[in-house]
């Protein structure tokens, strides 16, 4: 199993590289649909006309859930964050990964 370690580390690194800049995209999506980028000062004209469609009498905004969130609406709504891949906490190195989270671990300075 030791041979796999470097490969695993490389994979983990790549995964992290990929996930880091995408977190915002993952949460809010890439498109400027609905309320779009609040900071965006210049909007496309197309975008504006789309927005106008969504507004009723310039007062109310019609929010249309996208298909992805419609599908999720039928999933179990539970705030618990289940552990998908439990680590083997009997292994020394896994235990070491959180060693300094405790007062018994190493302190800065």
């Amino acid at each position: 199993w030791k041979e796999d370690l470097t490969q695993k580390a490389a994979e983990a690194f790549l995964r992290q590289q990929r996930s880091t800049p995408n977190l915002r995209k993952l949460v809010y999506g890439t498109g400027t649909h609905q309320f779009g980028n609040l900071s965006q000062s210049v909007e496309d004209e197309d975008q504006e006309s789309e927005d106008a469609d969504d507004e009723l009498g310039g007062l109310f905004r019609v929010s249309r859930p996208d298909t992805a969130s419609k599908q999720k609406a039928n999933a179990l709504d539970c705030s618990k964050f289940l552990v998908e891949k439990p680590q083997d906490w009997d292994l020394e190195e896994v235990m070491n990964s959180i060693r300094d989270c405790f007062v018994t671990g190493k302190w800065e300075d």
């Binding site: 992290q16 996930s19 880091t20 977190l23 915002r24 993952l26 949460v27 809010y28 609905q34 309320f35 980028n37 609040l38 109310f60 929010s63 969130s69 419609k70 999720k72 609406a73 039928n74 179990l76 709504d77 539970c78 705030s79 618990k80 964050f81 552990v83 439990p86 680590q87 906490w89 235990m95 070491n96 990964s97 959180i98 060693r99 300094d100 989270c101 405790f102 007062v103 018994t104 671990g105 190493k106 302190w107 800065e108």
Partner: protein, 345 residues
């Protein structure tokens, strides 16, 4: 919510479940002037929000979901009521799906306090325990009202100084709790000496209608961050019997997973923290979280749809070696929400 007044919500659902119906009735109870219409086939729900009213109430929750399912929503709404909420909830206190009442008591209440919602009346009291499938538990939740929330800066969770917990057993041998405690300690003692897990064996009417046992663990840091983990036995007649030793060990390992995820708020309460940050005064709030749960991600999208607020999301790789996984720093400016219905005395 007050800012939602004037808007209305139409949900299309494939089927409505009994716990959802129970939840709608609960929302109807805590509000004044809500309009709720469900069509004959139960596929469309029309909901027009009323004023959050509060007061002394009671509600029988459907036993197909834990009380935690209902309580979580009440925790979000209770600080913004007209009158302080004091509600008796009956049903399943601990199950395998929802955050248990014990965990919410240990984690969500300290979190509310940090936003300035505190006082003697902030309390969750467990009168009776009830396990699935039949339930029979009872709790009292009371919460004071606040006009404004304080902005928060939680960027350093600090180191874990102690681990506490509760091992409970109802309608089974009281020895089960001790066996769970022993095995959990065996794992956690490798990290920390300061561990105390209470054993809670309720008898008679306080033990609900179904047998079961389980455990909740919390890790508390020097800065007051509380991370939690929990497990419960399979409901009577469903799945194989679990040994208390195995359950204790698995629960201890779940707590270690939660420590690995880390952050200043535990994974169950991420969304509550983000909501209270959103509804804070017009000031910058920051919180360091572990990886965002799918529920939290969906919640952030809802926050954008309802409050037009987007968080700044920064991934923080830990500089130190042995402090668990990646963290996420969430920053936002509160919308400056005021609870105008709070009576001034």
């Amino acid at each position: 919510m007050k800012s939602g007044k004037g808007n209305f919500l139409i949900l299309s659902v494939l089927y409505s479940l009994d716990f959802e119906a129970s939840f709608i009735r609960l929302i109807d109870k805590v509000t004044n002037g809500s309009r709720i219409e469900i069509n004959q086939t139960g596929t469309t729900l029309y909901y027009q929000p009323g004023l959050l009213y509060g007061g002394s109430l009671e509600h029988d929750c459907s036993p197909s979901r834990g009380i935690g399912y209902y309580l979580e929503s009440l925790l979000c709404l209770a600080p913004f009521m007209k009158h302080p909420l004091k509600i008796v909830l009956r049903g399943v206190t601990n199950d395998q799906v929802d955050p248990s009442v014990d965990v919410l008591k240990a984690t969500a209440l300290p979190l509310l306090k940090k936003f300035g919602i505190d006082g003697e009346s902030l309390e969750i009291k467990i009168n009776r325990r009830g396990m699935p499938p039949k339930g029979g538990g009872e709790i009292v939740f009371s919460c004071p009202v606040r006009k404004v929330l304080q902005p928060v800066q939680f960027t350093d969770p600090g180191k874990i100084k102690r681990i506490r917990g509760t091992a409970y057993s109802v309608r089974v041998s009281p020895q089960m709790a001790n066996r769970m405690v022993e095995s959990a300690r065996g794992i956690l003692n490798k990290f920390l000496p300061d561990i105390y897990i209470y054993t809670d064996h309720m008898k008679g009417v306080s033990s609900g209608k179904s047998p079961g046992f389980g455990m909740c663990l919390t890790a508390e840091t020097i800065n007051g961050t509380i991370l939690s983990a929990e497990l419960a036995s399979n409901p009577q007649g469903q799945g194989e019997a679990v040994l208390p030793e195995e359950l204790g060990q698995s629960c201890a390992k779940l707590l270690l997973e939660e420590v690995y995820r880390g952050g200043c708020v535990d994974s169950t309460n991420q969304s509550l923290a983000l909501l209270l940050m959103t509804l804070g005064q017009r000031d910058v709030s920051k919180v360091l979280l572990g990886p965002l749960s799918p529920y939290t991600i969906e919640f952030l999208r809802h926050l954008r749809s309802f409050f037009q607020i987007m968080f700044k999301i920064e991934t923080k790789t830990t500089e130190e070696e042995h402090t668990g996984g990646e963290k996420v720093l969430m920053t936002c400016v509160g919308i400056g929400f005021h609870n105008l219905s709070k009576t001034i005395r």
